[in-house]
Point group: C2
Chain length 339, copies 2
């Protein structure tokens, strides 16, 4: 069903039908009613490509996902938050997957040059993110999930990683822990650097020396976390607490602790960062897991909102949101062992 056919069917011009459907004021109410009823009945919907060409808007936002290991389970959570909001505006989400950094930059150029999307979402930035600079050069609007030190203003939403880790670390220090291991994300990523800052700040506030052997920078998989925790537990004196960068990491650490014959929550403590996955609940772990918590799905949903504001003309410099990180104490974090 084309606009033309619908117009003919109604004995009206395409102009009037188009206006009626798009809510223009200069169309008689009776006509509008007649038109929208016919459209509904005949199942008419404007052809997306034609509409996009005519309006110059792509009605789509893009997201580039990097190779699997980076992708992880976070993305589907984020996506479902994002998608819910976008759907209401009939805006598509176009996802592109790439294997390398090289490919990723090329993907942005491609998307920009072909005007396939109106805006993009950038995630997992580094401190000086090349992709952000590129997008600014290409003049394609974007919202950053995270933060970066850019030369120009950037729209972003981030969680307070520094604050979260400072509180978590301080809490462990309060419990008497002095050797606290940090299983952090890959070096260079802003969130990892921010977490490190919070960790360091808490340590130095109590005058506890930083031991580089207690810090790891790896991807958030259970496997590498397992190995890293295992080797850290062989240190003497061994760490009495772990700060795990993600729930996957926490699972790995958990296994290492158990394999070492120790008990989580008494022999060793752990606080993990929880992005809130519906299928992996800190409250239902055994023992229940203390976490620094922030819903990545909510972030997705909110970023959709910010994106719409950005497209609506709100200045980039006014789009900044820093979300607090909750510290939720459960059974996995307890007092440091006495000896």
């Amino acid at each position: 069903m084309r606009l033309k056919e619908l117009a003919e069917h109604l004995g009206l011009s395409q102009t009037t039908v188009s206006r009626a459907l798009n809510g223009y004021p200069e169309v008689k109410e009776a006509t509008r009613l007649r038109v929208s009823e016919a459209a509904l009945e005949l199942g008419y919907r404007p052809n997306a490509s034609a509409l996009r060409l005519a309006t110059g808007r792509a009605s789509a936002v893009g997201m580039v996902l990097r190779g699997a290991d980076e992708l992880g389970p976070h993305m589907s959570e984020f996506l479902s938050g994002l998608g819910g909001r976008m759907a209401t505006q009939d805006i598509d989400i176009v996802v592109t997957t790439v294997a390398s950094q090289q490919e990723e930059l090329a993907a942005y150029r491609r998307l920009a040059a072909s005007q396939r999307v109106d805006a993009m979402i950038l995630h997992s930035p580094t401190l000086n993110d090349e992709r952000a600079e590129l997008l600014m050069d290409l003049k394609i609007p974007f919202v950053l999930h995270g933060r970066t030190n850019a030369t120009r203003p950037v729209a972003w939403l981030d969680i307070d990683n520094t604050g979260g880790l400072e509180r978590a670390t301080s809490h462990l220090l309060d419990l008497g822990h002095r050797r606290i291991a940090l299983l952090n994300g890959v070096k260079g990523r802003t969130f990892a650097e921010h977490r490190e800052l919070g960790y360091m700040a808490a340590l130095s506030a109590r005058g506890v020396a930083f031991d580089p052997a207690l810090m790891g920078n790896t991807a958030f998989t259970d496997e590498v976390a397992f190995r890293m925790a295992q080797s850290m537990l062989e240190l003497r004196p061994r760490p009495t607490a772990f700060l795990a960068g993600s729930m996957m990491t926490a699972l790995g650490v958990f296994r290492a602790i158990r394999q070492a014959g120790m008990t989580l929550g008494t022999d060793v403590s752990m606080i993990a960062h929880d992005d809130v996955f519906p299928y992996l609940n800190a409250d239902n772990m055994y023992p229940t897991m203390s976490t620094t918590r922030s819903s990545i799905r909510q972030a997705g949903s909110r970023i959709a909102e910010l994106l719409l504001q950005l497209l609506g003309g709100k200045p980039v410099s006014e789009i900044h949101e820093l979300w607090p990180v909750e510290l939720v104490l459960r059974e996995s974090s307890g007092p440091a062992p006495l000896f």
Copy 2:
């Protein structure tokens, strides 16, 4: 940079430039070279909307993701497999997220009516999938990840869930287990029904009676798996082995076993289905996990291929692939306890 500008810049007509770039044979080789060099240099790429309107192809495939719990971590794996292949053909992946079944059907209608995508990917089908029927009614091509009993032929790729579970169950029976619990997916989903078939077949082949108390049909989250396994372990006689529907499920069962003071691999055995997540490795669990294994990422990649074939005109009735499921034995499955 528009085609028009590029043409003017070159002193050629749009026609010739378009042809040169699209590899038509009737353009002089020297001209083609000149054109493609200029295009590269000036960074010209056809406007996606215009191209789509002109060709009538959307150059996009759609995927509808249902609310979070169904979504899970599987999707990002699948997507990255899919995306890798699609990118090479400059085909976009448009993802839509919906909260309910109702919304989902509406989403398909919307996508179809607005001709936003050339084809769709359908996943997690039920035995008689309403969505598949709808897509056929709408005459929009699709590849099904899984199987369904449709009235008309459907293009699909599925794994041999029945065979996989039959082998896993038989193996546990060989080890002397007689009370084998099955933590299966939601009732009605084809894969869950197929797994049940395999389980039943193996039991009845050995003359072992089926006990409905040992079967659960739930979503694959660690939480519900934990609860279910916990209550099953309170039965007398208790199950001596578990078949877990996913790695998330396995984690929950694992916790329940440990909480009950038992040891996995000796007191209780488990074989889990592994969709192969890079961040959750059966080989690195402790004890290592026996699995029925099939890479969901590879499935995504292959489905992209099938989709391209479908769009290329290959008949639906020739697009069927049933992948075998590997049984990988590790430490979590051992002989049944003697008493």
